[in-house]
């Protein structure tokens, strides 16, 4: 577990350094994820140890959002003032985004599969 955790943190660190150095709008951990993905793709395998540690972290991914979510208590005033605009925006936008993405991807995948058969 320790080597795998060290590996993950090192990739994050390298990602942060790249993001800062090139003043990229993308956060370090996302660059770290891209780099690790590229490494795995080049090497062609994932060690059991890394897989186990990653599963452990991702199994309770939800937990990691709890501290930021609790920050809702800082914004009760604004939420009370603008609750309708906020709630409608989140509801409509989330549903529409899921629908648009799912329909478009399904359409494009079917076309791709039809091409593969042709």
């Amino acid at each position: 577990m320790l080597p795998a955790l060290t590996l993950l943190l090192t990739y994050q660190l390298v990602g942060e350094v790249i993001a800062q150095f090139f003043a990229l709008p993308v956060p370090g951990p996302v660059i770290g994820m891209a780099l690790l993905f590229a490494t795995l793709a080049l090497r062609g395998a994932v060690s059991e140890e890394l897989r186990g540690t990653a599963n452990g972290l991702l199994q309770h991914l939800s937990l990691l959002f709890v501290p930021a979510g609790t920050g809702v208590m800082l914004h009760f005033g604004r939420l009370a003032d603008e609750w309708l605009a906020l709630l409608a925006s989140l509801l409509v936008s989330t549903a529409v985004t899921i629908a648009v993405s799912a329909l478009l991807m399904r359409m494009l995948m079917r076309r791709r599969e039809a091409e593969d058969k042709a």
Binding site: P27, M33, A54, A85, T94, M109
Partner: protein
């Protein structure tokens, strides 16, 4: 007895241990309840944990800053967890290569839809400009969204909360959208949910299947990139 308890409270409330343990306890309880409800999406563990924590902090008069001194250790793990998403992603590598074009087209369309629809609905209902700007990056994972909000003139801490709410709404509501549209493919279900609802949607997708989870993780990562690039460009178009 009581003054002694008071002293202990003063001691504990000054140490990060309390915020950290409370976060874990609240989550464990929420997760237990989630299981008891047969994993029903409405019994979302993040939602339940946040409700419990806000109630406890409010009842004990503890500030968010004090709480966060302990909770930051959990918050910090978002970084390595994001990096770790490369592993389930890699497991789907063969399939991803074949689907590169459909995925990219969906990503761009979904990313623009997420940002513009959120800003447009809030604007139409009289939401303030700061609220609109804070809403624009609401579909991407917390650290990215906060960075974007700061860049475009929103409130990063408000964005963090809106991001979590978006995640919870997506995790709860996606199944109804999918039922309505008869979306059955695991890859599509995962990708659309990860795109719209980042890590919380991804956590939900992993409960459905490993494949849905991997596509959700991919969408979440890609949408982080896409939104970071697109939102600063798109917002001037909407400037009211």
């Amino acid at each position: 007895m009581t003054p002694r308890l008071g002293e202990i409270w003063v001691y504990l409330s000054a140490s990060p241990l309390l915020g950290l343990s409370l976060t874990l306890l609240a989550y464990q309880a929420a997760f237990w309840l989630h299981k008891r409800c047969n994993g029903h999406p409405a019994a979302n563990p993040v939602l339940l944990s946040v409700l419990a924590l806000v109630a406890i902090l409010w009842a004990t008069g503890t500030s968010y800053a004090t709480y966060f001194e302990g909770a930051q250790f959990v918050h910090f793990l978002l970084g390595p967890a994001t990096v770790a998403l490369a592993i389930p992603l890699y497991a789907q590598f063969a399939r991803l290569k074949r689907l590169a074009l459909p995925l990219l087209a969906t990503l761009v369309a979904g990313s623009i839809t997420a940002a513009l629809s959120a800003v447009a609905v809030a604007a139409a209902l009289g939401g303030s400009r700061v609220t609109q700007l804070s809403l624009a990056p609401k579909s991407v994972t917390t650290p990215i969204a906060m960075g974007i909000a700061e860049r475009v003139g929103g409130l990063p801490s408000l964005t963090a909360v809106l991001v979590i709410m978006t995640g919870i709404l997506g995790a709860i509501g996606a199944r109804y959208v999918y039922r309505l549209l008869a979306v059955k493919d695991e890859a599509v279900r995962g990708f659309a949910l990860g795109l719209a609802s980042h890590g919380i949607g991804t956590a939900r997708a992993f409960q459905e299947s490993e494949q849905a989870g991997a596509f959700a993780a991919l969408a979440m990562g890609l949408n982080g990139l896409a939104t970071a690039l697109l939102v600063p460009l798109l917002l001037p178009l909407l400037a009211g």
